[in-house]
């Protein structure tokens, strides 16, 4: 069995009486695109939030690249190569698109106790940032304030910021959220270009996207992972169909 890049064991988190994450076991292999699906309120975002380090689990361990990161805070995990995107768009609204990405580059370019040179004229930040922005298709919008970008463009900017940290594992929380069909398709096409080169954990509602992208799928219901396997297997799993995919699933 290949080494797991991310290994989650017995992860548990409750909010009062609600067990949002219930003894979750999850292995993400290097290079795979792994989707987590499940109905609303299944605990998918809570899972991602714990993996990214923004929420401490009640029990269980998370190891990343062979290292126990359970006790590390989000910035430290980002430094190790875990990068998350947010379900609700989270960008620096008063900065331009390029500024946004340049700040993500800066976060991984040593300390920032540099008081003298103007950051916006620092080619060590601007050039890689521009390249990433170009790769997600926002090259022409580099100088637009993030607040003035269309919703779909802000979602692309999210991905650009994630990629600019040069992560080893992308944690994408519903990257297609709120997108029209055309924008979604473009995002799917883009994520497909990352496949193989990047390891991706994808939480997504859009079933077309999930079945188009994922190498393996885990199904989450009421905080539990009830099934995990390749897409064909998940599609055929009776328990999954009952719990989630419903009657009209094929």
């Amino acid at each position: 069995m290949a080494d797991a890049l991310l290994e989650v064991r017995g992860l548990t988190k409750s909010f009062g009486g609600l067990v949002a994450t219930n003894h979750v076991e999850l292995r993400i292999l290097e290079g795979e695109t792994h989707a987590v699906i499940g109905p609303n309120g299944a605990g998918k975002t809570t899972l991602i939030t714990q993996l990214a380090g923004d929420l401490r689990p009640d029990a269980g361990t998370i190891s990343f690249a062979g290292r126990d990161v359970t006790a590390l805070a989000a910035p430290a995990r980002s430094k190790l190569g875990l990068a998350r995107s947010f379900q609700i768009t989270s960008v620096f609204r008063e900065f331009t698109a390029l500024d946004n990405v340049a700040l993500a580059v800066q976060a991984h370019a040593g300390h920032s106790f540099r008081f003298w040179r103007p950051a916006r004229r620092d080619s060590a930040l601007r050039r890689p940032a521009a390249a990433v922005l170009e790769s997600v298709g926002l090259g022409a919008r580099a100088d637009v304030l993030a607040a003035n970008l269309a919703h779909g463009e802000q979602r692309q900017l999210e991905i650009a910021m994630v990629l600019a940290t040069r992560p080893r594992l992308l944690l994408l929380d519903e990257p297609m959220a709120g997108m029209g069909p055309e924008e979604s398709q473009r995002m799917i096409d883009f994520l497909r270009t990352l496949k193989g080169a990047q390891t991706i954990l994808l939480v997504e509602h859009d079933m077309d996207a999930v079945f188009a992208l994922a190498d393996r799928i885990s199904v989450m219901v009421y905080g539990r992972l009830i099934a995990s396997g390749p897409p064909e297997e998940i599609r055929g799993n009776a328990e999954v169909r009952e719990a989630y995919l419903g009657e009209d699933a094929t």
């Binding site: 923004d54 910035p75 980002s78 990068a83 620096f92 900065f95 700040l103 993500a104 916006r120």
Partner: protein, 312 residues
Amino acid sequence: MTRRGLLLAAVGLGLLALVPPVAAAIGQPFYVDVFRRIMIFAIAAVSLDLILGYGGMVSFGHAAYLGVGAYAVGIPAYYGIENGFVQWPLAMLASAAAALVIGAISLRTSGVSFIMITLAFAQMLFYLAISMELFGGDDGMRLARRSAFAGVVDLKNGTTFYYVVLVLLVGALAIGHVLVNSRFGMVIRGAKSNESRMRAIGFSTFPYKLVAFMIAGAMCGLAGALLVNHTDYMSPAFMHWTRSGDIMFMVILGGMGTLSGPVLGAVVLRVLEDLLLPAWTEHWQAILGPFLVLVVIFAKRGLIGLLPERND
């Protein structure tokens, strides 16, 4: 800053440079005093804006550093150390140290808690000053001699002192300008804009915010050193919470997150408060209050935001 911003700042500072000759020409040397005081508060307001306007840290105890800076001049003077080359750096160091302690604790909170903790620290220093009987306690203490600079400049000359303050104001603006555009500045601004995003891309913002807090404290401490020389007096009143409110209002009135804004805010607020309104009616506060409310409601970017602009 945009080219327009630089031009505006240059015009404004140029006008301030003209105050002493104009005051002399119209035989009103009193205005040199008035505008020197305004510029001292402008330095304090610029320092607050670095953390408030750019860093989103709503420090409601900024006058504490004004007081620390003033006492760091007054206390050595009491013991016969009158050299400004010692006093002023000491004022900045002491204020930075105070900011280190206050920031290390208060920056672990946010929102209303942060406002309240910074206010509480300022009040503690206020009462500490009151309790120091040796240095005048409640009444404060006269500064026997202004800071001496070994013959380089003589602060006893009002006009010389005026230009010293102007140069320091320009220096504060220049430092602020470089700072907010540096990598360090981008981190501070990013933390104001979206803290959770900063964490997700790998920034622990706390140490950066703390250093910004100390830089602002040191700058305001220098303003305190100037203030005690200006009034020839140091008093716990420098640290009163209403003084913190004044400084904050200068920032908000002029325009948060711009460097010229706090200077403009200091000029407008002080001119209204000290010169225009009291001369007109004794109920001037009834006019000033609504004016400030209107500015906050209708000029969200402050007075500086009302000036015409081409781009941004």
